[in-house]
Symmetry: C2
């Protein structure tokens, strides 16, 4: 097995990008990534996407995007694991290079959500839930997360306002990210007054519907060392774990077993413990998922994650900085792209290029990309070399 | 890079399987495969599927199927490349094992098409074509293949009846395959009288709408050698190549460049030439695609593939036997499953377990799985060890 490095990253701003089709959007991110890496044509392309077949009537994005990028002929496929599609596509790229079968691999996460009707997006997101046991009851994806949050608040006696720290931190960090969808701060008062979407989830507990694409270029460590002007970031761990889709069959509904298992496998691969992690790009699609991910990954005891937020430990200068460029909440959550945005954000931190949001001396970073309500979880650990 | 072997195969009969949901259907194939391999729980699962999100409102099949199979927790994702999804998922499994990151990998290709309306299936299959440049004109997937066939007949002065040999061979071989959808022979007269679907494509030039699942288990060669009662089949080559989706932008519309490129890469990896191949599971979704694949893979000169059929060279006892268990035409074409059915058929031949359809002394077998009208092509070469 070869060691693998990230040698280029790229991203588009996140928002309502009606002027760009699927292929144009993906190309923008890939173009930036190959320029960053200083390569012209990767050998293989892995696309992370969840909903293009439903929302844009387009399958086979691998070949479509490879051709539009000017790379006709190269190997290209799509990897899907609901909202963890981006992380899963990144893992496929890592494997391709690690196996020795591919020298340079590109990965792009992409989702276009804002041109479809709200109904189409809501039913599209619901496909991440179990069609036979959850969707059939009319449960939307927000409703499922609301059930999780309600149960968490009840079991651990945590009031709703305790979650405010997560979106406040995310929005504060997004102010300095020109690619973020919401570059503005929110206050505890704004959080408290926010309209309820699905009780107890309010507007700021939930990430937005949006468009975006993020990309990365990978190659073997030995090749990366010889590239001029590149600061390679090594992939120290790549681990996926799963759970049932339907919440009713979980061992413990407020413990994300797949997130725990995925994080444990990743720590073992990297030979580190949670306290070694300098920056953690968490999957804050909902405030409750940020809390559950922090607990599953070993950064907080069960029921205590909101205290990390209350005590400032998730801030840039805190013990475990999260959502450092705005996270899913304020940077945005184009679902199939999110896992790659997380990678891009960690690479930005480890290169020391995060500007006003730079985590001091960041050397080890982690991403956790979550599909469904914790059904597929992909964890990556990256490190400076 | 580790050498990789197939140590187990499984399949369901292909047909209208209304009594089985997605998870049950996938499990039937996986259950047979793990029993065949003599293992209990693979470390990772790769699902090949194209249309479940549209036709069954279900994404995230990896986690769904892993859990239903009793393997909650394992790594699991879906790989999509239109009708080449099965082959692409198989390649992902090969990579996972070759990289050293996974010891035992399962792959399942699955598609359920018969519970949806004909309109839903037709528009679902059309997502393999370019939404902006082909679908928008109302081109269905059969219509695109009809354009290809018409052009081929015109350029090479090949009459329609010259294609009869492909479905006749496929149907003859399906008679002895209890898992085939159509276990009956057809004659040249039946072919000549068949209703036209999209001129010049008739009923027998086109593979059927159906449900099915096929599975395989992979592990490193060194582990495979030690397994009792298993005859391992080695993966000698695994290669994917792409072309543009839209036919109008092809270099030469009746030459499948991606199929040629993919086959050439595969031959190089395996260190063989086309004449070394004993059995070739071709992607005969349409008669015209069987012909173009045979030409692209080096088994016939451009414009001459139908002669292979006319001269009996594609029969079990011929120079290059194809569709040996019925192919996509008569065994059936549950789209996301097909690439894995092709692998299962070749393994069956190389193990010498193909019964009345056994290709004598088959030692090297090849599969070519084609997405869209030749936009993503995945070629695998397998060999006895």
């Amino acid at each position: 097995m070869r060691d693998v490095c990230i040698i280029g990253i790229g991203q588009t701003p996140i928002g309502e990008l009606w002027e760009l089709g699927l292929r144009q959007l993906a190309f923008k991110a890939l173009e930036a990534a190959v320029q960053d890496a200083g390569i012209e044509r990767p050998e293989a392309l892995f696309v992370g996407n969840m909903m293009a077949a439903r929302l844009s009537d387009q399958a086979q994005l691998g070949a479509l995007i490879a051709d539009f990028a000017g790379w006709r002929g190269i190997e290209a496929v799509t990897v899907e694991a609901a909202c963890a599609s981006g992380g899963a596509a990144f893992q496929a790229a890592v494997r391709a290079v690690a196996s020795g079968m591919v020298e340079t691999a590109a990965v792009v996460g992409i989702e276009k959500m804002t041109e479809a009707t709200g109904e189409a997006v809501t039913s599209g997101l619901a496909t991440a839930a179990d069609a036979d046991y959850e969707q059939i009851h009319g449960l939307t994806f927000v409703a499922l997360n609301a059930l999780l949050m309600q149960r968490y608040m009840y079991e651990y006696h945590v009031p709703h306002e305790a979650f405010a720290g997560f979106p406040i931190n995310a929005h504060r960090n997004a102010v300095n990210n020109p690619n973020a969808m919401y570059q503005r701060e929110i206050t505890p008062e704004i959080y408290a007054r926010a309209p309820i979407i699905a009780p107890p989830i309010n507007l700021y507990d939930s990430s937005p519907i949006c468009d975006g694409a993020a990309a990365a270029i990978l190659c073997p460590l030995e090749m990366a060392r010889g590239l001029p002007g590149v600061k390679p970031i090594q992939v120290l761990a790549s681990a996926t774990a799963t759970d049932c889709l339907n919440l009713d069959d979980r061992r413990n509904v407020i413990s994300l077993d797949a997130a725990r298992l995925s994080a444990e496998k990743a720590y073992q691969q990297a030979g580190i413990v949670p306290s070694d992690v300098d920056v953690f790009e968490v999957h804050d699609a909902f405030s409750i998922i940020a809390a559950l991910s922090l607990e599953a990954a070993g950064f907080a005891e069960p029921g205590k994650a909101t205290r990390l937020a209350e005590e400032g430990e998730i801030a840039i200068t805190g013990r475990i900085p999260i959502s450092t460029m705005g996270g899913l909440k304020a940077r945005g959550h184009p679902v199939g792209a999110t896992g790659v945005y997380e990678i891009v954000d960690v690479v930005t931190q480890l290169r020391g290029e995060a500007g006003a949001n730079q985590v001091p001396d960041a050397c080890i970073g982690m991403t956790q990309n979550i599909g469904g309500t914790g059904s597929t979880v992909v964890t990556h650990i990256l490190g400076c070399i």
